[in-house]
Point group: none
């Protein structure tokens, strides 16, 4: 499919919400030069779809249930290093953004971006450039200046588990989502509490909320 690059940009759409995918598809295809060649609704299917269609750009929502979207990024990049992945999510925490880039993403735009900015980002990463929306640039910039928050002491896994926990997920649900044993999730839970100094689950939720990790 990459030989159609001269006539347009092929896009693989990965998002777990059907109507959202359908909406994106219409928005992108109305651009003329963008063509959605495949869709996937979970991280596991993303690589299969990538291999089958070899798209110029993967538009990926990393806030998916099941395996982490970061996982999907690493998965694709590990086997196809020239893949261009544009992360597209409503989360805008600096930690997540940095994780995504270090996992191999080429760009990061939030869902609060204007459609034109998203489309521009797709074209940018298709050209091999790095792209991010204005709000993300802002957040990264401020983050690079500010001293570390509590979240900086937490690893990627810990952050992900804290996010899901604060979102209301059960220990079992988190274990299932991340393919971990319940015991491991419990250990992370405890570790997060000791690292952050939270003595109560409620304090943990409040902490996550004030750090922007969980929306309430």
């Amino acid at each position: 499919m990459s030989e159609v690059a001269a006539t347009g940009i092929s896009v693989l759409l990965v998002d777990d919400h059907p109507i959202v995918r359908q909406g994106y598809r219409r928005v992108l295809e109305s651009q003329g030069d963008l063509h959605v060649v495949a869709e996937a609704d979970n991280a596991a299917d993303a690589y299969g779809a990538f291999k089958a269609h070899d798209p110029d750009v993967v538009l990926l929502d990393i806030s998916m249930p099941g395996a982490s979207g970061l996982e999907a990024i690493r998965n694709i990049r590990a086997r196809s290093p020239r893949a261009r992945i544009l992360v597209f999510t409503m989360h805008n925490e600096a930690v997540l953004v940095k994780s995504a880039f270090s996992a191999g993403a080429s760009g990061f735009v939030t869902k609060s971006s204007e459609p034109s900015a998203v489309v521009a980002a797709i074209r940018a990463v298709a050209r091999g450039e790095r792209a991010m929306s204005d709000d993300i640039a802002h957040i990264l910039a401020e983050d690079s200046l500010s001293a570390g928050s509590v979240l900086d002491q937490l690893g990627e896994r810990e952050i992900e588990i804290l996010r899901q926990f604060a979102g209301g997920a059960t220990t079992e649900q988190i274990a299932t989502h991340l393919n971990l044993s319940v015991k491991t999730v419990q250990n992370y839970h405890y570790l997060i509490k000791t690292k952050t100094g939270a003595r109560t689950d409620a304090q943990l939720v409040r902490l996550a909320a004030t750090c922007g990790l969980a929306r309430i």
Copy 2:
């Protein structure tokens, strides 16, 4: 705008993500009988847009930053009791669904629903019916062992304990504050969870926060 009802259903779109709104707009308008007459990107603007356009249906994403989407529902319904509000979100916790309905929503569909189900739900609420997606019905059904409208069924003591708990207090601290035995506080804690349908402490904190019981 309600005089166009004979020729179709007018919809007000409330979601904080521009591209998501644009996608929904295209999906809905491709149906022929659905017309997006206005958009809003936050709860505060929702009522203004409602008053200005008097849509048949409000399609509302309640997972917005800033004011609670529940607030927006109450706002609109308080001043226009015949408004039809269809909540459209990716959250699927029973407590949230019940809160939305008791706030005055006419329907509740998740973003993991098929677009056709969403469209059907819009038509249903436009006819004055109640609508919800299959997964929501499932969750509510299982939850309906202990029915009720969430916070209203809690006693004074329960509310006070929930407030302190959500504020980050330890069980012992609550017991000391209220001059109760730890055992009693534990029993209340359990009782509150069963009454509200929260399965997790985190869900309890979120519930308290959305009900204005705790500030985060």
